[in-house]
Amino acid sequence: MALDVARLKNDFPIFARTVRDGKPLIYLDSGATSQKPRLVLDAERNFYEQHNAAAHRGAHQLAEEATEAYEDARSKVAKFIGAADNEIIFTKSATESINLVAYALSNSNFTDAKRFHIGPEHEILVSEMEHHANLIPWQELAKRTGAKLRWIPLTDEGRLDLSNIDSLITSSTKMVALTHQSNVLGTINPIAGIAKLVHDRGALFLVDACQSVPHQSVDVKALDVDFLVFSGHKMLGPTGVGVLYGRAELLDEMPPFLTGGSMIEEVHMESATYARAPQRFEAGVPNMAQAVGLAAAIEYLERVGMDQVQEHEELLVNHAIDGLLGISKVRIIGPFGGIHRSGAVSFTIDDIHPHDLGQVLDDLGIAVRVGHHCAWPLMRRFGISGTTRATFYLYNSISDVDALIAGVEATKKFFKVA
């Protein structure tokens, strides 16, 4: 059943405004950040207006309510991805979530948590399609520990080239960190299949789910991953809240990253012991209002239905791909044609730089992302400096896609490219 986009759009106050001299906003940049429904904004405001106090502290009623609101948000997130409550850690962003794990690994070298020890005898495996957020923390971990960074190459179509995967995941591999869905190519990676291989070799598996959790139903147990990260703001929630899922038995052993208040058990002048997960990984007064806002976003998504969201986006992206392929000199970067893919499509046009295309589209009220999309090595792999990327979400309609296609045609005319 198709989504009633016109009705959904009414839930998002931003679509009431216009851009660039009175044009309606056609927002095709949800891969960067999504817009927020009123429900989420109200939930955040309500927390501040009615329940604001420091969670897990204080002996008063508001502190109890704030704690309850924050922990209810944790439960909501946990259920949404098939995890247990104590497997969910709130961070400020998915980037922080990945750094938390990377630093926990190097920090473990000074503890008894052998499971996480990492040194020059180990390897870290990523892929060529990673967002910088799932590349640079591992580059840095490799530098700190002497471990070797390796990566899975890509096929020309824009998929993981798994032909040599047996030689890439070995008994030396400590950590495999892969994206679930590429933020550029729209590729959906076969995570569950890779997970089996990773665990057979005794390595840890972290999945960057920033582009999947907002757009499809994700179950961490079905994927069988050790860690999974995503951010709130890409899934209708507020900025300033990210999530780290970690398997309970791993989190129990893992040393902390950020230290300070509320992550402790007992503190002396020269030493301290730490709380159990998830508190051990949440130093400082937490981002309560943002967590509550994220829970409201999940409620909204569940009401619409994640399968409906995915189906809707697939419809839009296939329509976009068909339209773009009908325009001469357009090249789609990423796999397409009778396959499952995400609602992100990247493309280039001969003789028009993405930044110039984005500028003309902007003049028409169409917001797209241009450039390297924080995936510079991926751009190099395809021998390009950047792409134009349209990403779709539940509030986009077929007419938004048609506007994009017409906008691309108009841009070619503007720059006199035949």
């Binding site: 730089h353 930044h355 110039d356 500028q359 003049d363 751009m379 950047g386 503007f414 006199k416």
Partner: protein
Amino acid sequence: MDLQALYQEIILDHYKRPSHRGLHEPFDIEVHHVNPTCGDEITLRLSLDGERITNLSWEGMGCSISQASTSVMTTLVDAKTVDEFSITSDSFLALMHGKGTVVPDEEILEDGVAFSGVAKYPARIKCALLGWMALKDALVQLIDSKSTDAKIISIVPDRSRDER
């Protein structure tokens, strides 16, 4: 329409038929600058013959604004003295950071006035300045390596605003 004002014919002409493009020898210095937000790149070569900028050549990859701006710059400053470059460059920078309120000096900027429309698009100012920052940087390095001189101060790149 602002878009027409942004993409003036002069800019599109320089984009299609850039001046001084294609790296040449000899040169005293080569610099490579990138715009980290979009990945645009410029490689610039030049020599200093006393006070005079010579052997200017460049190669680049990027949007029409960054490539055309570099092309216009090379036509403006080739064979000029470092002091003359500073005057031109200061004038161009003032225009770019003027939020559309600065009236460009056509005597100094010539084809460079075509970039007036860029000042209204904050995201594009860095594009327009890419080549200019590369040349400033090259001159600073070159002069530093030769002798210290009071002029250096006027050609220190405005890193706080343009090179985040």
